[in-house]
């Protein structure tokens, strides 16, 4: 091989190596960029899936929570219905008990006495229902605590009150009225009755 040929061959060999190096470098560079991009895109994709999982969990939780809420509401409505039914029956039974003197008269006496005491006046007018006016008021008076009668002058109104039972105790001028009817007693006792009913019916 001549010197010239060897020289030109060296030139071309060197150029080939340099050309290959340029292409290789570009390929390496792009491979690195591609790898870096893959990592970034993977993170982005993972974030999308992670967010979707969180949203999905929230949707699932919400559906179950709504079902629980609906069930709780339904349970409460059923309980309220039963409680109301029980209270209605209690009110009805109480009105019926007015007919049973042995049970009712001690209560009526108590309502009258506590009304007189609450009024705190020297005289009191007792107002009764039409049914109770049918009982002899003087008999009723005999049942009232004697020491109380010693301090307070009691008068019996002939006008019946609109109540199933109990009494209204007023000052003689009618300016102060203590309402101790069965309806009022029911209203006053209602919170306690509700607690008792809840405990008895539902063990709460």
């Amino acid at each position: 091989m001549s010197e010239t040929s060897k020289f030109t061959e060296d030139i071309l060999k060197s150029a080939t190596e340099k050309a290959e190096s340029i292409v290789r470098e570009a390929e390496t560079e792009t491979q690195r960029a591609s790898d870096e991009a893959k990592v970034t895109i993977s993170r982005e994709a993972e974030a999308i899936v992670r967010s979707a999982r969180a949203d999905a969990d929230a949707v699932k939780r919400r559906q179950i929570s709504e079902a629980r809420h609906r069930a709780k509401l339904r349970e409460q409505q059923e309980k309220d219905k039963i409680m109301q039914d029980v209270l209605d029956q209690v009110q009805k039974r109480t009105s019926q008990l007015v007919e049973e003197e042995t049970k009712y008269v001690p209560l009526l006496t108590h309502l009258i006495e506590s009304g007189i005491q609450e009024l705190g006046d020297k005289a009191a007018m007792i107002h009764l229902s039409k049914t109770d006016l049918g009982r002899n008021p003087s008999n009723m008076e005999q049942k009232i605590n004697k020491s109380l009668l010693g301090r307070v002058k009691v008068e019996w109104s002939k006008e019946p009150i609109d109540a199933s039972g109990g009494a209204v105790i007023s000052s003689l001028d009618g300016k102060i009225r203590i309402v101790n009817t069965l309806d009022q007693r029911f209203e006053a006792l209602e919170p306690r009755l509700l607690i008792e009913a809840r405990a008895s019916l539902f063990g709460e």
């Binding site: 010239t4 292409v23 991009a37 899936v49 979707a52 939780r61 919400r62 006496t109």
Partner: protein, 106 residues
Amino acid sequence: MSGIETVKVIVNAEKQASKMIDEAMTEASAIRKRIDSIIQQQRQQMLAEAKKESAAIAARAGEEGKLEAEQYERESLQALKALVAQAHAKKDATVEKLVTIMMRVE
């Protein structure tokens, strides 16, 4: 080979070498340009897959939530029926108890 011919041969070789390097640089430039579209394509593909997976997760969760909610509703309805039956069985006794409270003189 004369001196002139030798120079010509060397100049040609140099030209050829220069052309090779130019071509290599053009190819390198093309490779660099191509990568942008490859990355963009990769990104679209991976994100599309992620969105598809997300949609599947959402659909699955919605279905699971619906089934669990229905199961809960069924169980709670049964429990409620039992509760109501028990309460009804105790109703008369409860009414009597409350009437006693109403009539009690304290």
